[in-house]
């Protein structure tokens, strides 16, 4: 196993926030279903509101296949519709980031936060327009650029800082406190450095490829699910390949240069690529070597990059206009937003109110138990829950990370496999 991959597997991005496409869609379905049942309960428990909303929409409701059992309830968004709305609001978020003149990393982090949050929370539950501002604010903090909340509020023409602060902890919970997002921007620099060190590479070509690839990275992976399905280096390679296919392939073939048998090498690589193999030290075990940088691994990586390239290719930077095009919005987004306005969660939609209510509830819980019977029932239920509450609170962080024990015998390993381990127990520089 390649050491770089082993290190990447330690990240929270891999451990908590990487999914296969089927997993991701099933999670979205689940979130959607949970939100539906809960909002249905809430709406039916608010008689006045339910009548108000149901009266005008009941006619539109009945033919809707997505509508839940009772005609009194509004039509809910389906999971794909939710995903489309999330994508739309992600583009809004990127626009907002541009407006506030934030760096690429902040925008990308905020976009990743936003999309991650709406994997486990439905867009019908929490207001996306508020949450995208919250994600931007928190993204600034996560990337180490600390803006004052008053300035931030002014930038976005809001009046009350509370609106942003109320959603902050909520967002953190939704992210399961994994606030380190790995981006492909620096990886692109690394790839370009490596390419520039090769002989016979046109600098102008490199520069053009980098500009284009960066432009792609700024938009395409953020607005798609690429961050869930691919690693940053794969995303970077895909973007590079979209910008300049030849360069990306050159880099890949030179990285995976290990030639196990002459029959493999003749397939599709120019023979020259194998010769200048970037001065690797002779492999102690060629099996391992073949696994890490052999042609089989190369083909697999190329396949993955190709898939990622397809995904990014669907949302090239030119599509920015698509998401701001009035006609498109009117045709696709506005109906969804209208629908959303009717089926949103009455209790959760106002974040400030929600936070206030929760604080009151918490204060009430800590108070003595006197109160009307309803409250007591409530607190009883809470108490009942609170037993397994601890367990589920911890579960927010996911299971214990499968870390190796913090110690290893450097002597044994170093002597056995690599002489380097013995010289420097901390390995090479980061």
């Amino acid at each position: 196993m390649a050491t770089e991959d082993a290190r990447y597997r330690q990240t929270s991005q891999f451990q908590l926030w990487s999914f296969s496409p089927t997993q991701l869609s099933s999670m979205r379905e689940k979130t959607n279903a949970a939100a539906r049942t809960r909002i249905a309960e809430r709406l039916s428990s608010l008689p006045a509101l339910a009548n108000n909303t149901s009266a005008p929409t009941s006619s539109a409701n009945t033919p809707d296949p997505d509508g839940t059992s009772t005609p009194a309830l509004p039509a809910f968004l389906s999971a794909p519709e939710e995903a489309q709305l999330v994508t739309f609001f992600t583009s809004e978020l990127l626009r907002a980031g541009d407006h506030a003149e934030m760096t690429d990393e902040i925008k990308a982090t905020a976009a990743a936060f936003f999309r991650r949050f709406y994997v486990t929370n439905s867009i019908m539950t929490y207001p996306p327009q508020e949450m995208l501002i919250v994600a931007l604010f928190f993204g600034c903090k996560a990337e180490g650029s600390f803006v004052s909340i008053t300035d931030f509020v002014k930038t976005f023409g809001r009046e009350n800082p509370e609106e942003i602060l109320a959603g902050e902890f909520l967002l953190c919970q939704g992210l399961r406190f994994a606030i380190d997002v790995k981006h492909p921007f620096r990886a692109l620099r690394g790839a370009l450095m490596e390419l520039a060190s090769h002989p016979n590479v046109d600098r102008a070509r490199l520069g053009a490829a980098e500009t284009r690839a960066r432009e792609i990275l700024r938009f395409s992976p953020l607005i798609t699910d690429a961050y869930f399905h691919y690693t940053p280096s794969q995303i970077m390679m895909a973007a590079l390949s979209l910008a300049d296919r030849g360069l990306a392939e050159q880099l890949i073939t030179q990285t995976f240069h290990h030639v196990a048998a002459p029959t493999d090498s003749g397939a599709d690589t120019p023979a020259a690529s194998g010769t200048d193999g970037p001065a690797k030290e002779p492999a102690p075990r060629s099996d391992d070597k073949a696994q890490i940088i052999g042609s089989v691994a190369r083909d697999k990586v190329l396949g993955t990059i190709e898939a990622c390239r397809d995904m990014l290719g669907r949302e090239l930077p030119e599509r920015r206009e698509h998401w701001t095009n009035r006609a498109v919005i009117k045709a696709q987004i506005t109906p969804l937003r209208k629908k959303l306005n009717k089926c949103r969660d009455p209790e959760r939609w106002n974040l400030v109110e929600l936070q206030r209510a929760r604080r009151e509830q918490a204060a009430k819980k800590s108070d003595s138990e006197d109160g009307d019977p309803d409250d007591r029932d409530d607190s009883k239920a809470n108490n009942k829950n609170s037993n397994n509450n601890n367990a589920s609170d911890a579960a927010v962080f996911g299971d214990a990370l499968p870390r190796d024990p913090k110690r290893r015998r450097v002597l044994g390993e170093g002597a056995g496999q690599k002489g380097k381990g013995l010289d420097d127990p901390f390995g090479g520089p980061l």
């Binding site: 991959d5 539950t125 919970q173 280096s233 691994a297 990586v301």
Partner: protein, 357 residues
């Protein structure tokens, strides 16, 4: 007090009559009773001499078939012989089970050990026949198995006793010294006073009025000097005593504690290998975007190494290239989607209780 008014003869208590030869103290003023720890039957010293002078013999008590030797006889310390016997047993057990608290990892272990020893002692002292035999066997077995330990502990205990004895002696010595010193000083003071008085009288007799104050002053000065001398001496003495005590009290060392097995050097990275396997960081890797910072004092003054940036960029370019999320997540590396979905459903369904913080 054990006299019965009904009987004509005074009842002679066992303390005054040898149960073997029926001699009474009235006839033999310096009669001494001896016992043998084999059976704790008491008899007078005459009987012991008479019966055991010629070598081992049976106990003269009825139905006691123990063979006793003269050497084993001694006078009892306690009047009640059962107490005498218990003390003997306790002494013997304590000689064998002589671990100190320092030998145990926790106080609880030590207490358990004490409890065990006490149980065993109780069996020996007042247990039935079988219990006594079992306890005896345990004791002997322990003694045989832990001979070295017992010996070491015994010596340590002895040493500790010796030390405390020496310390006490030293303290006593010092106290005596102080007393003597104080006496001597009082004596000197008195002498001094007499002398100064005489000097004063002399000076008065010779009519030199001015010299009196001078003598007084000298006197005071000398007294202060003596006091200062004393203080210095005392300080030296106490320092020496403290050093002595410090040297003597190095006994809590747990030399017996087994050293933990060596664990090898500490690895702060938990076994993560930092040697890249897919790429190599060449000399002279650079990028136009960082070139402009290479002459920037803001970056170079602090000692920023541009190699760090290069290494990091290279690492990020190649890390995870061979991680195929679709395959690995389906195979369940890291947190599986099922778990995440459960969590998410939980969060969605019962959002209230998690967010009340």
């Amino acid at each position: 007090m054990s006299r019965k008014p009904a009987s004509a003869l005074p009842v002679i208590s066992t303390e005054d009559m040898c149960p073997v030869c029926k001699t009474i103290r009235y006839l033999n003023k310096d009669m001494e009773f001896l016992i043998n720890p084999e059976c704790y039957h008491s008899m007078c010293s005459n009987c012991v001499n008479r019966l055991f002078n010629d070598g081992p013999n049976q106990c003269p008590y009825a139905r006691c078939h123990r063979t006793l030797r003269r050497r084993g006889f001694r006078s009892a310390f306690f009047g009640d012989l059962s107490v005498e016997r218990e003390v003997d047993i306790r002494r013997r057990v304590a000689a064998v089970f002589n671990q100190a608290e320092d030998d145990f990892e926790t106080l609880r272990d030590f207490n358990n050990y004490l409890q065990m020893v006490e149980d065993l002692t109780f069996d020996l002292v007042s247990g039935g026949d079988a219990q006594r035999r079992a306890a005896e066997a345990t004791l002997q077995q322990w003694e045989a198995e832990h001979k070295a330990d017992i010996e070491r502990n015994r010596r340590a205990g002895k040493e500790a006793d010796e030390q405390s004895r020496r310390r006490l002696a030293a303290e006593r010595d010092a106290a005596r010294q102080r007393r003597v010193e104080a006496l001597r000083e009082a004596e000197e003071e008195k002498l001094e006073r007499v002398r100064s008085r005489e000097a004063e009288l002399d000076s008065l007799a010779q009519g030199q009025t001015g010299a009196g104050g001078g003598a007084q002053r000298v006197q005071l000065k000398r007294r202060g000097h003596a006091a200062a001398n004393r203080a210095v001496e005392a300080a030296v003495n106490t320092a020496a005593a403290a050093a002595d005590v410090g040297r003597l009290s190095i006994r809590g060392l747990k030399e017996k504690k087994k050293a933990p097995p060596p664990e090898g050097p500490y690895d702060p990275f938990g076994g993560v290998d930092f040697v890249p396997s897919r790429y190599k960081v060449h000399e002279g890797l650079t990028h136009p975007a960082i070139d402009k910072y290479k002459g920037d004092p803001g970056h170079i003054t602090g000692g920023y190494s541009f190699d760090e940036y290069t290494t990091r960029a290279m690492f990020e370019a190649f890390a995870g290239l061979g991680v195929f999320i679709e395959d690995e997540k389906e195979a369940g590396i890291g947190l599986s989607a099922g778990e995440v979905a459960t969590i998410s459903a939980g969060m969605a369904a019962v959002g209230d209780r998690m967010e009340v913080d």
